[in-house]
């Protein structure tokens, strides 16, 4: 049986192209002879494209991307403070526009402390949880505005929008994940202050929990959740939370488990109406771009999430095992981006 998957590849800016080159090489290596192959289309999007053409993401780009089965993205964003980029918000105009337009309502971010990886925590314990971050609502919607800008009377508002429709679908997904894992789900919010949104999240979690009596449900305020992430991260299995809290918690989660050089993520549309997008959590790191200093592991682990999303569990497992073995074998000697990628590619091919 052979299967061809149309993959949109968006290397992006900074270290994006370097880490994506390795991720693609690992994908090619692991699928070699498997019957699965990727038909790749390369999209030149990000700060460089904006500087060259003035476009961030056109309707044509978006339509072309939609015609693919999945997306692999490196990182987007130019040099911070570059005056030529002052007018563009690459993050909102490209990354968030993709997540919103492609209805990526699940932002899936697993955190594992791999054997041999140092944590900044003295006693991290067994770190193995996944954050299910809502991806299409909350304070990220871009609703809000400003009046009297630049005057002493300026007022700038941001509106967090939360719908039963949007919350329920991501909560259901999180419960399904918990059912396949250690059956523990923690809702993180700030219900005592954000009472309107908090009440909606709480009621929906309670309602869906009633359908999953096998899953233990817990609640933490977001501030308390950060405490447990550094004092007892092993307590977490599945965390479900809103777009902004999920952004904050997943960077912290990455930090305690070896850094954002290892953090993978999937922006998923579970029903498959639109292609899902897989990307490392890290940014474009323009300061080290083009120097072969970036760790491609997060991008490579993102391909494992991609493979799992495609139902290719065995291939996904092989990528994860190759990464685990590579991390365990690290000696501390510096390796280039390509050396790390090649080492992992060699292991998946074995």
């Amino acid at each position: 049986m052979s299967r061809t998957v149309k993959l949109a590849v968006i290397p992006g800016d900074g270290i994006g192209p370097e880490v994506i080159a390795e991720a693609v090489a690992v994908l090619d290596a692991v699928t070699e002879g498997s019957g699965l192959s990727f038909e790749k289309t390369h999209f030149s999007l990000g700060a460089d494209r904006y500087l060259a053409t003035g476009d961030v993401l056109t309707d044509d780009d978006l339509e072309a991307i939609k015609s693919h089965d999945a997306i692999l993205l490196g990182a987007v964003g130019g040099v911070p403070g570059d005056p030529r980029l002052a007018g563009a918000n690459i993050e909102r105009g490209l990354l968030l526009k993709l997540r919103f337009s492609l209805d990526h309502y699940v932002n899936l971010r697993p955190t594992t402390l791999f054997p041999g990886i140092a944590s900044p925590l003295a006693n991290p314990g067994d770190v193995d949880f996944v954050v299910v971050r809502e991806g299409t609502e909350g304070p990220y919607v871009g609703n809000g505005g400003v009046i009297r800008q630049g005057t002493p009377h300026e007022i700038a508002n941001e509106v967090s929008v939360n719908t039963a429709y949007g919350v329920e679908r991501v909560v259901r997904y999180a419960f399904e994940q918990a059912g396949q894992r250690r059956r523990k789900l923690t809702l993180v919010h700030k219900t005592n202050v954000l009472t309107f949104a908090g009440s909606l999240w709480k009621r929906i979690v309670d309602a869906v929990a009633a359908e999953h009596p096998d899953v233990t449900v817990d609640y933490l305020h977001v501030d308390a959740a950060t405490i447990f992430l550094v004092t007892d991260p092993a307590r977490f299995d599945v965390i479900v939370t809103d777009n902004l809290f999920g952004d904050i918690l997943t960077d912290l989660a990455a930090a305690i488990s070896g850094g954002i050089g290892l953090a993978a993520s999937g922006n998923i549309n579970p029903a498959g109406a639109f292609p899902s997008m897989f990307e490392p959590v890290h940014g474009s790191a323009p300061d080290i771009a083009g120097q072969q200093k970036a760790d491609p592991t997060a991008a490579i682990l993102s391909t494992a999430l991609l493979l799992r999303h495609l139902g290719e569990k065995e291939l996904a497992g092989r990528v994860e095992q190759a990464v685990t073995a590579d991390l365990a074998a690290r000696t501390g000697a510096a390796r280039t981006t390509s050396e790390i990628g090649a080492a992992i590619a060699a292991r998946v091919a074995q």
Copy 2:
């Protein structure tokens, strides 16, 4: 010279009364013979009062509190999930109502890793920074609402309100703090996503920075800030941020520096139009209430912030030194709340 300060004391719920008893004893001990004395009024507010009377904070309570020079608060909040409290939001109706009504626009939260105190971090380094959290705006304003509640079409919004007036005054305060410290200020926000509010914060920090050429100014997205708080907390001197980000970062800051049992805070109205309020960052911890298990150190350190706010630097320093000495002498043997309080009170009296 003698000076009498009218102090409103709100012990609150759970462990609040226990820790406040020790804080008051330390205040009495340190001021003994100093010419400064406190005329204390005890306010019975919190879950117990609500259960007894149905009131959270009446206009009369508020007026009575306003007639004081300062407030010392323990902790408020009943047992989570207590059905009799379902209708009351003690946090919003009491704690936040006080902060907003008394225009506590600076929420000052110092973080120090005291000698002898264990951090969950393997290599915490020299942790000594202060978070200046905005206290009267942002997502905490309670603006927002819900439509179609309880239906599949429910929409719940939260509005973050940010004004030039509100941001500028807290930013100015933060720069003043930086000027008296290591002259480094870090703005934390999420300017790439919350573009309306982020732009306001960024422009105001840039404008005030121009008046403080001696202060080095840095910017971090809130997600990245959590990474640095666990990988390199020594880099921070003064962090200025909004109400919600400040809430999250200060719990994390407490966690890396010995826990919320040691974290003190001041809710300050710098101009003195209203009494400022000093409180430990921890909550009411109903599960250990009345058992003499709570550490009163955060409440005691909050009295040092109170004394400093009153201009009593020498007395504030004595409380801080007594706490530092007590912490350094801790052997790991369990002590009761009163034993810790008495030990610190004995040291300030020396």
